[in-house]
């Protein structure tokens, strides 16, 4: 399906989901629907609960209440690996690459459940080219630059042919050039039909890529709409300035 508007049916549904850590309610009765083909940004001030939402979707944390449905199936009781095989994929905030393995080995580790052995080399080459790392397969991953490591991780997350790709701060620590390239990459992935949910702080980046923006605040959805609507929303400015 063509990228853009997000006219497909619901792919991921979080229904009244909460997560409590001790005395802290990190996610509070959150309801959120991601539709097939969407490219959506999740923004909000520090501590709004964005990364916790990703952890709940991926199964690193279990919700204290509420239900998560993915692709029409309730996945609440599934371990992480099963969610992954069902088409959920993540690029984490803290780099989730294997520094002691080569770039190609990293890709292979990621792709093994989704690419047949015979097509592995070809698939790895294609994916590395896609994320701008062509020809670097033999490099030891810890020797990549920071931006390259981020792209590698996007490539790894992509190699599983995800139905939904979760990107947690894909441009963190990148310079302006790298940020722009990353935005283009994400747009082209979405144009190819990958549904993407991305947490990002860099608003230039958000403006460039986002069709829909969800603003989180205090563990809840605070506002939702197009980037223009969000920028015009007086409350959103206020929460960023700490007024509410």
């Amino acid at each position: 399906m063509a990228g853009g508007g997000g006219g497909g049916g619901p792919l991921l549904v979080l229904d009244d989901v909460s997560k409590r850590f001790g005395g802290l309610l990190a996610v509070s009765h959150l309801t959120l629907t991601v539709r097939r083909g969407e490219l959506r940004c999740l923004i909000g001030p520090n501590g709004a609960g964005k990364s916790t939402v990703f952890k709940l979707i991926m199964g690193f944390e279990r919700p204290s209440g509420g239900a998560i449905t993915f692709d029409g199936t309730s996945i609440d009781r599934w371990p992480t690996w099963r969610r992954a095989r069902q088409g959920l994929s993540i690029k984490m905030q803290i780099p989730g690459i294997y520094p002691e393995l080569s770039v190609a080995a990293n890709m292979r580790v990621a792709a093994q459940y989704h690419v047949r052995g015979g097509q592995m080399e070809e698939a790895i080459g294609r994916l590395l080219a896609r994320v701008g790392l062509a020809g670097l397969g033999h490099v030891l991953t810890k020797n990549l630059s920071h931006g390259e490591q981020q792209w590698l991780e996007i490539g790894m997350a992509l190699s599983v042919n995800p139905k939904l790709l979760l990107l947690d701060e894909p441009t963190a620590g990148m310079g302006p050039g790298e940020t722009g390239a990353t935005a283009q990459l994400i747009e082209s992935l979405n144009a190819d039909g990958v549904t993407i949910l991305v947490i990002e702080h860099d608003m230039t980046f958000v403006r460039q890529i986002a069709r829909t923006v969800t603003v989180m605040h205090l563990g809840q959805v605070f506002a939702e709409g197009t980037i223009a609507e969000i920028e015009a929303h007086p409350g959103v400015t206020d929460i960023y300035l700490g007024k509410t």
Binding site: N46, A172, I230, T237, Y240
Partner: protein
Amino acid sequence: MLDVSHVTAGYGRTMIVRDVSLAIQPGEIVAIIGRNGVGKTTLMKAIIGLLPLVQGTISLAGAAITAAPANDRAQRGIGYVPQGRGIFPGLTVEENLEMGTLINARVGGERRHDVAFQYFPHLAERRRQRAGTLSGGEQAMLAIGRVLIGRPTLMLLDEPSEGLQPNLVQQIGDDIKRINAELGTTVLFVEQNIELVMNLSQRGYVIDKGQVSATLSVAEVTNQDALIRHLTV
């Protein structure tokens, strides 16, 4: 007071802060502002010494501390209030305060919990309570009160407003101003909360993508429109 010169620092091969220079005079209150994820917290960690520098130098009151470990910098007089407060949840309020006694230990002198209670009387009622059970506002007070015990010459505050209700933000700002005025403590703080920046700072630096992108005068740090340009979405 504090001289940060051409500092580059980061994690592994990732340089989050690049070639940053700051100069803070004794008695000043200076803000570091910028959006999420631009390197403000990394800069604070580099100043207190929790992150080694790749390049650059730091000196405190004329003495080079570039290579000193964090505990040494604290003992030389820096009181660090980290992002998320960094209180010890399993220790009582009183024990948390006691942990501040090593700050400025080079100078020595009497270290009494009264200083903290003087500015945050609310803490006195909770002194035997586990710090982990305090509310967010109380934890913020505890984190500042804890460093006050050692009478730091320089306080580093990393987002003191984080997670606080607006009235508490106002309160904390006033408290910090009183501390600065009455104890003469120099204050360098990282903040995104515009109210607090306007309430507190005498001048400021803007950080963007790991670098100082602008310096702000008194007029600019109290001008809402100027700040909004640097801070908002």
